[in-house]
């Protein structure tokens, strides 16, 4: 039995073209020679890979190897960390994310779902309407966006009768789907997810995974996960990262279509990690 089959959820239907070779579909994000520093300490060194358009790309690797750091470069969330600095390029729609100063636009196009859901202290409806209202959309548009995004996030049926209830009244899994709806509301291109299921039970996790697969037909999704089964189940491409033990920076070890990476890893360290022989 191959590694991938071992990880896969039974009956999981993969889209046939997903095993494609890199470059088969156009890339949305091109990471080129990216290094990252927290003050003087280097967290990432020379990371380069392309993230395919409307596919799910998983980033895996042991704790502390810089997965979150990498993800946070894509929508410039690191701007708030004092002393944090990125070098290199991340090309997105012919613009370099690292140097752009159109941050609000960037964050509208590159949404993010965090590990722990953070419902705003307002109603379910207002949570989803948050970003559209920031953009000054008109009432009707906002209303339409709320319904559309809640539907797209597979939450509509559960909340349509209590849109005005406080968001905090939702369960953990529902909250995470609310977070997804919240960033879908302004029609992003890319959705970044940092361990979105790590606080959820298996059933809620499966729901989010199904949702991701569904969303991937319209959105480019990048997911950081500790769960290799999850990476194998949902992603089309996988990036494996590792902390360089000698110099303590994170680096990209291998990037390949998920099937390839799990079944015929090119790097010894990748194989050790996915077969559980690592750390």
């Amino acid at each position: 039995m191959s590694n991938l089959a071992a990880y896969r959820r039974p009956m999981q239907s993969f889209k046939p073209d997903l095993r494609a070779v890199p470059g088969a579909s156009p890339s949305t994000l091109r990471v080129q020679g990216l290094s990252f520093y927290y003050g003087k300490t280097r967290a990432l060194k020379d990371v380069s890979f392309d993230i395919a358009d409307r596919r799910i790309t998983a980033i895996i690797g042991p704790s502390g190897c810089g997965k979150s750091t990498l993800l946070r470069v894509f929508n410039r969330m690191y701007d708030f960390v004092p002393g944090a600095r990125a070098e290199g390029k991340v090309l997105f729609e012919a613009e370099d994310i690292v140097t752009t100063n159109r941050l609000l636009e960037l964050r509208q196009k590159v949404g993010m779902v965090f590990q722990r859901p953070s419902p705003f202290p307002m109603s379910i409806q207002d949570n989803v309407a948050f970003a559209p209202r920031l953009l000054g959309w008109r009432r009707a548009q906002v209303k339409e966006a709320v319904a559309r995004s809640l539907q797209a996030a597979a939450l509509w049926d559960e909340v349509k009768d209590r849109l005005n209830a406080p968001a905090t009244s939702l369960s953990g899994g529902q909250l995470q789907r609310l977070s997804i709806a919240r960033c879908l509301a302004v029609n992003p291109e890319v959705i970044l997810m940092d361990e979105p299921c790590s606080a959820l039970d298996p059933i809620a996790t499966l729901k989010i995974e199904d949702l991701m697969v569904e969303l991937a037909s319209d959105y480019t999704i990048v997911i950081v996960t500790h769960n290799m089964q999850q990476a194998a189940r949902v992603s089309d491409y996988t990036a494996f990262m590792l902390m360089n033990q000698a110099e303590r920076f994170g680096e990209l070890i291998e990037f390949a279509p998920t099937g390839e990476l799990f079944n015929q890893p090119r790097d010894r360290r990748t194989e050790d990690y996915i077969t559980g022989r690592f750390g």
Partner: protein, 311 residues
């Protein structure tokens, strides 16, 4: 299994002695309050029986004719406190928002310590500063020009004075500012980081994040800080006494002298002789306590509503 269940059953109730002790301790505070009010009531009895309920609406204060009423003092207390809060609240919250912001830690540390030190200044020192520095400054640069140009409006009318309701409110504002901003800062800091990050990740500016997400999330705590500050303003005695002008009038102008409940008690207690005069002062103390209670209860009700509705 059964062991475990029994254990949890036994540990559910604390031992009797412990419960008695904690109950007694927790009842001591309300008991003390009741005792204080009772004693005050007893001391105020001559005035209470003489003036009855009219005491709180009567406007005269005459130790010679023994004609006493609390209204000018209630007015002075409420207006100075309200004005002080109106001045200090926006500034205090703005300071708190900036101090609670992650990043530039050193500057924020220095500024934060400064705010806390401000809270440590004794009120009599504030009073001296207000009398010799603030009052003349305010008089020449605020009261005079405003009264000249806008004197036709009631609240700015009449001859401005260095010691006035307005000056007292300003001192009070400065005095409650540290309470307001230090507590609000801590409350804002306690807002989960994820909330701020989520807003930013949705394309909110710093301003939108603070105003629409962080402040609403912290509003219960900020409200608490406000109530605490208001309590301090209502009861503040010495600094206010030094700059309010000490005149038991109800003037529409905020530039006119006034008097507060706490100030009149502090000023006149030593010279109050006879039976009715000291009793009237004690009754003012009673009014002050009740006023503070009322404000606190009102605040509690308000915060219940605002917290429970849309969370």
């Amino acid at each position: 299994m059964i062991q475990a269940i029994r254990l949890s059953f036994r540990t559910r109730r604390a031992p009797l002695r412990f419960r008695l002790l904690t109950t007694a301790a927790s009842l001591s505070a309300p008991a003390l309050v009741i005792a204080i009010v009772a004693v005050l009531f007893q001391e105020a009895a001559p005035a209470v029986t003489r003036f009855g309920a009219l005491f709180i609406v009567a406007r005269s204060w005459n130790p010679v004719t023994l004609d006493f009423g609390a209204l000018p003092f209630i007015y002075g207390t409420l207006v100075t406190s309200a004005l002080a809060l109106a001045i200090a609240l926006p500034i205090g919250i703005a300071v708190a928002v900036v101090l609670a912001e992650p990043g530039a830690q050193r500057i924020r540390g220095v500024a934060g310590t400064g705010v806390e030190l401000l809270a440590a200044i004794p009120s009599v020192v504030f009073g001296i500063w207000a009398l010799y520095v603030l009052a003349p400054l305010v008089y020449t640069h605020v009261e005079l020009p405003v009264a000249q140009r806008l004197g036709f409006i009631g609240i700015f009318s009449g001859q401005p004075r260095q010691t006035s309701l307005f000056t007292a409110s300003l001192v009070l504002a400065v005095m409650i500012l540290p309470t307001l901003s230090a507590i609000s800062r801590d409350v804002l800091r306690a807002v989960p980081k994820g909330l701020r990050e989520s807003a930013v990740a949705l394309g909110a500016t710093w301003w939108e994040t603070s105003w629409k997400v962080v402040l609403p999330a912290a509003r219960a705590g900020i409200f608490g800080a406000t109530v605490l500050a208001l309590g301090r303003a209502l009861g503040e005695t010495i600094a206010v006494t030094m700059v309010i002008g000490n005149r038991p009038d109800i003037s529409p102008s905020i530039f006119a002298p006034a008097y507060t409940l706490a100030s009149v008690i502090a000023n006149e207690f030593t010279e109050a002789t006879g039976q009715v005069y000291p009793a009237a002062l004690v009754e003012l103390g009673l009014v002050l306590i009740l006023l503070t209670f009322a404000v606190n209860i009102l605040a509690l009700l308000l915060v219940r509503r605002s917290v429970e509705l849309p969370r």
